[in-house]
């Protein structure tokens, strides 16, 4: 051993540390090895991997009626997942963004068999993402058939994510938009292979030309894998080839994986509040037009103002859901096809009419009250007397036809909301029960809202006690109908296969169990126990105790409906390509 002689050398230790730290920060690869690599590649612009992927691309451009499609040779895919990372790197995606995924299907019972499955956008013939987009941010390229996303057009509503059965569009939080696979169209245009095709070590992915008529006729042959979503919905174009025969028991490896889905809180509140506003307006106008509710101007003014406020809050909340709310106005573009676009228009209409009616009733009430004192209302420097054109404006804005339109647009808004979810490939949503649930939410919360308004406002009238009694008795009935709608899902617990409905039911009994219980408790307390108690106690119309009771009923019902809507989202297991 070399003799330690510490003292002799220690003096210049720190200097050496400094020198090494400096040297460490000096990046030397270019300087030391320059020339070698870049010279080697000065052989023109031709990509060096071209020979690897030449036979993985079609020789010709698509002819009319044809399009590009992914084709996967399952017998060559061994699940190395290089395609996922190559797509990520070669497209410069953000940190955790991926446009391709690799899943697994397997046979649990019997002869063991498993198969990894690589998936990206299916570039469907009938792209649901595009059909659902309220701002027309998708287009199917007429030449290549590639389903492209216009990033700058997107408002970040995420509806395409709910629409796509293949979990393809990915929301980018930082940018507030969705992005997705474009089959590396920029590469294809210049004869290069898409990132995944370039990077597959075993050449399992290729680009082929498909005849769109053939895909349409034989759609069941595309994206056809055990556990894959029903291809009828979008007519996907990816063909999975294998020489193997999959036994009947093959299923996605994550078929039994249960995990609650994203709750979309802004949508939970937006739906509940807008439906309450809608229900409230329908009840209010029905009551007013039938004469059950008094035409007392200030009551009408307050009622409409509160309803309009509620609807405005709902709209404001819905806008917070958008990734790029500044561009929300574009949402009218998709009206011809997208229920989301229609919902937004219907909300706008309802909001507008509610504002008009609120302003009209307020104006009428103010002018009337001033007229009683004999001093006309000063407005914009004008004297607004009961017979002035301003008063006429107020009357027009709160005329019977406006109120009818208001009630009709309220119903329309609820219908559009329901259709937004019914028009998805998600089994829990794509049913008439969704309409039932939404309209019953409107009925419950709208009725409770009107009841609370009556009780708190101290309004009197001959018919008020009857109306209040009627509303109070209607609540338990509506609640029972609502809970019945919701309880239908539990029938699917006995389903043999692990379908999305069974999984929803299992989630409600599992991870979401306590929320589910709270939802029922809140509903029963607000919609059943308190109304019964109220009826038993004897309805006094107005008074502090009634006000307290009515507000409690409303609060409990609202809470219950919000929880129901939370479960509506978080228990909704979407169709997906096999994962895990």
């Amino acid at each position: 051993m070399i003799k330690p002689s510490l003292s002799k050398f220690l003096g210049d230790g720190p200097a050496l540390i400094g020198a090494y730290l400096e040297e460490q920060q000096n990046l030397t690869a270019v300087e030391r090895f320059s020339g070698l690599h870049d010279d080697m590649h000065a052989l023109g612009a031709k990509p060096r991997l071209e020979s690897h992927y030449r036979d993985l691309l079609p020789l010709e451009k698509p002819r009319p009626g044809q399009q590009y499609a992914f084709e996967v040779d399952l017998d060559r895919c061994t699940g190395c997942k290089a395609c996922v990372t190559a797509c990520h790197n070669l497209n410069g995606l953000d940190e955790d963004e991926t446009w391709r995924s690799v899943g697994l299907i397997h046979n649990v019972i019997g002869k063991p068999l498993q198969q990894t499955v690589t998936t990206a956008c299916q570039h469907c013939l009938e792209p649901a993402c595009s059909h659902g987009c309220p701002v027309k941010a998708y287009e199917k390229d007429p030449v290549t058939g590639i389903v492209r996303h216009l990033d700058d057009q997107c408002i970040g509503c995420e509806y395409c994510i709910l629409k796509c059965p293949y979990d393809v569009p990915q929301y980018h939080k930082g940018k507030g938009i969705v992005r997705k696979c474009d089959m590396c169209i920029g590469r294809l245009e210049s004869g290069e292979a898409p990132a995944c095709v370039q990077a597959c070590p075993t050449k399992a992915i290729r680009i082929s030309l498909v005849d769109q008529a053939e895909v349409r006729a034989n759609f069941a042959d595309y994206a056809a894998l055990p556990g894959a979503p029903d291809p009828a919905y979008t007519k996907p174009t990816t063909r999975y080839r294998t020489a193997r025969k999959f036994p009947a028991g093959m299923e996605a490896a994550d078929a039994y994986r249960l995990k609650k889905e994203k709750a979309h809180f802004p949508l939970v509140f937006m739906l509940t509040l807008s439906q309450m506003a809608a229900g409230f307006f329908i009840a209010l106008e029905a009551g007013s037009l039938s004469g059950l509710l008094p035409a007392e101007p200030f009551f009408q003014a307050w009622a409409h103002a509160l309803g309009a406020l509620l609807m405005s809050v709902a709209i404001a909340v819905s806008i917070t859901h958008l990734g790029r709310p500044l561009y929300a106005f574009r949402a009218v573009l998709g009206f011809r096809r997208s229920w989301l676009s229609r919902e937004i228009v219907a909300f706008g209409l309802l909001g507008g009419l509610a504002m008009a009616a609120a302003a009209g009733t307020a104006l009428t009430a103010l002018i009337a009250s001033r007229a009683a004192t004999g001093v006309p209302l000063p407005l914009f420097g004008l004297e607004a007397g009961p017979s002035s054109w301003i008063a006429d404006l107020g009357r027009y804005a709160s005329a019977g036809w406006v109120r009818i339109a208001l009630a009709v647009s309220a119903a329309l808004a609820v219908h559009c909301s329901a259709m937004v979810y019914r028009d998805t490939p998600r089994a829990l949503w794509a049913t008439r029960l969704t309409s039932g649930k939404f309209f019953l939410t409107a009925a419950l919360t709208g009725a409770a809202g009107l009841l609370a308004l009556i009780s708190c406002s101290g309004i009197t009238g001959e018919s008020i006690p009857h109306l209040a009694l009627g509303l109070t008795m209607a609540l338990p009935l509506a609640l029972i109908a609502k809970l019945a709608c919701e309880a239908r899902i539990h029938r699917h617990l006995d389903d043999q296969e692990a379908n999305p409905l069974k999984k929803a039911a299992l989630l409600l009994r599992g991870e979401l169990r306590s929320t589910h219980a709270w939802r029922f408790n809140a509903g029963l307390a607000g919609g059943f126990l308190l109304p019964i108690l109220w009826l038993y106690r004897g309805f006094a119309g107005t008074g502090p105790a009634d006000a307290l009771l009515s507000v409690s009923v409303l609060a409990l019902l609202l809470a219950g409906e919000c929880l129901e809507r939370y479960l509506f989202f978080s228990a909704c297991v979407p169709p997906r390509m096999p994962g895990a």
């Binding site: 090494y20 320059s34 612009a45 060096r48 790197n89 955790d96 991926t98 990033d151 070590p201």
Partner: protein
């Protein structure tokens, strides 16, 4: 009109900032299109830093700094492909928990930053005082297969010849020790004979305890490039991804592989399916071996292995001479209580059938870590540099002569092996431990054993790129290392190819290349004269080349790093022209062949030039299953996106998406239904040593009575049983007895 267009553009915006972010630019440097915002202004190629495949990665540089990478199409190993780890290799460098300053455990028990000067003083003071008080065997180091050879070499010199430590080992003990010993005994030198081209040139490819689809996807790429329509045979208790992709799978009983191999040899001899000429000319010990396997009657072997006699015959028939048969193994064989004999039984099959030294043949060990091969040759732990022996006085003289040190300071026997070092700590004989770029608090077989040891140490130093690995958390002193991509050096892959690491990324804070940390320690210790001719890694490389002269691994023909770079890596051996004064001076003795195999002339490295048959009777499984612990737990690689203890791969958000978030245990449907376990349920797996919690994955990929757990989860090695191959001291990770039950909580 203009206004109308503007309105239309505002309503329907086809392009803009967000669109522009995704634009691809026409690629320069033959890259094809690359993202515009990551356009390189130059590129350079270097070897990936994870596994022993040793793929070339083309680093995209902007102002000399790596901004992206793509696999190198020119590199002869991977031909433009990479696995997810390679694609994501730059991401772990940017993690938040990089060690950026030395950390010292203060009196309050917490690690706090100190400057390098203080860290180095503490290091030298502590080690010197431990050695002074407790003797020269009281301190040890545990190194790695993850750093370049120059750094392993520098560590070996510093620790053994500078600091005077007697004991040091590396995590290559956990991965390659078995192959190292098997080759050394059979061939006379640790020399994996193949090149990856052999995958493409075989008629029959047999994998023993190897799952290349997941563990070495690029080697599988080479298998898929085989145009000879090969028979691909997988021998593995579990139906792995590779077993599914193969043409034949032999799901033998765990740890019955040695019996199987002797049974196959028995049939081959009985049927005369052997190459007598080759045996005669190039091997010794065959007659004894023939006697030995006589008792391995196929019927009995068929019973023990669970394969049955007919499948044994079918297997043996595919090995009969006339076809090019290559035999490959990795951890399923290496990590065994009798791994060396098993590997040698594979070698014996190749020798018997003459499947050596020809295209598409060989008894081929697929290595694990990126530089396990460098460690095997130059780490100065189990042997002296250049594949020399401590116990050989001539070897000690040679090394001392070249290094300019006194041969008397070189120990005359190897130091303790990994398990013996930990045992030494637990017994109180070893008081100070220095761990470099490895994570035994996670990876050590029977992990608690290491953790107990760590608690007993007076001084534990961890030198790593992260300050919060399982082991760094236990340290008294953490030294921050520069990582792959932040330093230079040479690594050696499975097919003996020397490739380069380059400096393309700045190290965080005050992290330093391990090479320079070792040099600083030498300075503070007072032994820097050891490195007087080794200011840079490249100079250390030249010193190693001198040490390789005349050895089987002779690479004196490699003049510098640029030559390795230019050639796309160079396989050893590449001796220099023998005439130092002649016209060929300083050039290789023969032209560089891109892919070359060994033993084409049938000459092995034993003094008689022949390969040896090595064998001994199979030993019982160290921890057989019992009624209390009725399951055999198998462990292995979980996915292609994970590397070892996941310290690096866990830092990439993309890689994290590619493997399950929770620990996993595979269980056969019959066992699962009996225990009322469903897929996705949390279960507890217990062994006599500890317990692990994992989610059940019910799948018939494992056989009844067996469980499989991926090794990347920290809990797995709470279960594994510490038994060791007697020749290689490699731990047997692949088999222990456990029980499993549904987690009641």
């Amino acid at each position: 009109m203009d206004l109308k267009d503007r309105f239309a553009g505002f309503m329907r915006q086809r392009t803009g900032k967000l669109t522009h972010e995704m634009v691809l630019s026409p690629g320069r440097f033959g890259l094809g299109k690359t993202p515009e915002r990551l356009q390189p202004d130059s590129t350079t190629s270097m070897v990936c830093g994870f596994c022993s495949t040793g793929c070339g990665l083309k680093i995209h540089l902007k102002d000399g700094k790596a901004v992206n990478l793509t696999p190198d199409p020119e590199y002869p190993v991977n031909l433009g492909m990479a696995c997810p780890k390679g694609w994501e290799a730059l991401t772990p460098l940017k993690a938040d928990d990089r060690a950026a300053l030395p950390l010292l455990r203060g009196p309050d028990g917490a690690l706090a930053p100190v400057d390098w000067d203080q860290a180095l003083r503490v290091f030298t003071d502590k080690f010197k005082s431990v050695l002074a008080f407790h003797g020269k065997e009281a301190a040890a180091f545990l190194s790695t297969g993850q750093i370049p050879t120059e750094e392993m070499f520098a560590l070996g010199l510093l620790a053994k010849f500078g600091m005077g430590l007697v004991h040091g080992d590396a995590n290559t003990r956990q991965c390659m020790a078995t192959s190292h010993v098997a080759y050394k005994q059979s061939f006379g030198f640790d020399a994996p004979p193949f090149s990856y081209k052999d995958f493409e040139e075989s008629d029959v490819i047999v994998f023993f305890g190897a799952n290349p689809c997941i563990a070495h996807p690029i080697m599988w790429e080479r298998v898929m490039m085989n145009k000879r329509n090969p028979e691909i045979i997988v021998v593995d208790p579990r139906q792995t991804e590779t077993a599914l992709a193969a043409t034949r799978h032999y799901p033998l009983q765990p740890k019955s592989d040695l019996t199987l191999l002797y049974g196959l040899a028995h049939i081959l001899i009985r049927e005369g399916w052997i190459d007598r000429d080759y045996l005669e000319a190039h091997t010794t010990g065959f007659e004894e071996f023939r006697e030995h396997v006589k008792t391995f009657d196929p019927a009995a072997v068929g019973r023990i292995t669970g394969l049955g006699e007919a499948r044994m015959m079918e297997f043996a028939e595919s090995l009969r001479p006339g076809k090019r048969v290559s035999l490959w193994w990795t951890m399923g064989v290496n990590q065994s209580h009798e791994g060396v004999r098993t590997a040698q039984a594979i070698i014996n099959l190749a020798l018997m059938t003459g499947n050596m030294g020809k295209p598409g043949t060989g008894a081929n060990s697929i290595t694990g870590q990126v530089n396990a091969m460098g460690s095997r040759l130059f780490s100065n732990t189990t042997g002296l540099p250049g594949g020399r022996e401590f116990k050989d006085p001539k070897h000690r003289e040679e090394v001392a002569g070249i290094l300019g040190i006194d041969a008397g300071i070189i120990q005359d026997k190897p130091g303790l092996a990994y398990d013996q070092i930990i045992e030494g700590v637990n017994a109180g004989r070893i008081k100070a431990l220095w761990v470099i770029a490895t994570n035994p608090a996670h990876s050590w077989v029977d992990q608690e054993d290491f953790r107990r040891a760590a608690a007993k140490l007076e001084f534990l130093v961890v030198q790593d790129m992260y300050h919060d690995t399982d082991t760094a958390k236990l340290a008294h002193l953490v030294l921050p290392s520069a990582a792959w991509g932040e330093k230079e050096g040479v690594v050696i892959n499975s097919e003996r190819r020397m490739g380069l690491f380059k400096k393309v990324h700045p190290a965080p804070g005050q992290a330093l290349a391990d090479f320079y940390i070792f040099k600083l320690i030498a300075k503070y210790w007072g032994c820097e004269s050891l490195f007087k001719d080794m200011d840079t890694p490249e100079q250390a490389f030249r010193m190693m080349a001198r040490l390789s002269a005349g050895r089987p691994c002779d690479f004196t023909g490699i003049t510098d790093y640029r030559m390795i770079d230019r050639e796309g890596g160079i396989q050893w051996p590449l001796p220099a022209s023998p005439d130092p004064e002649g016209p060929g001076a300083g050039t290789p003795a023969r032209p560089i062949v891109r892919e070359r195999r060994l033993f084409e002339d049938g000459r092995y490295y034993h003094p008689d030039g022949k390969a040896k048959f090595k064998f001994s009777p199979p030993q019982p499984i160290p921890e057989p299953v019992t009624s209390e612990f009725p399951f055999a737990l198998l462990t292995g690689r979980g996915s292609s996106a994970q590397w070892h203890t996941n310290t690096r791969t866990g830092k990439s958000a993309v890689l994290r998406k590619l493997y399950p978030a929770d620990s996993l245990v595979e269980i056969h449907p019959e066992d699962a239904s009996r225990l009322k376990i469903a897929s996705g349920d949390w279960v507890l797996v217990r062994s006599r040593r500890g317990q692990a919690r994992a989610r059940a994955s019910v799948a018939s990929t494992v056989q009844p009575g067996q469980l499989f757990m991926p090794m990347h989860d920290v809990e797995v090695n709470r279960l594994t049983f510490p038994s060791f191959d007697p020749h290689s001291r490699q731990p047997s990770y692949k088999h222990c007895a456990v029980r499993v039950e549904k987690d009641p909580s």
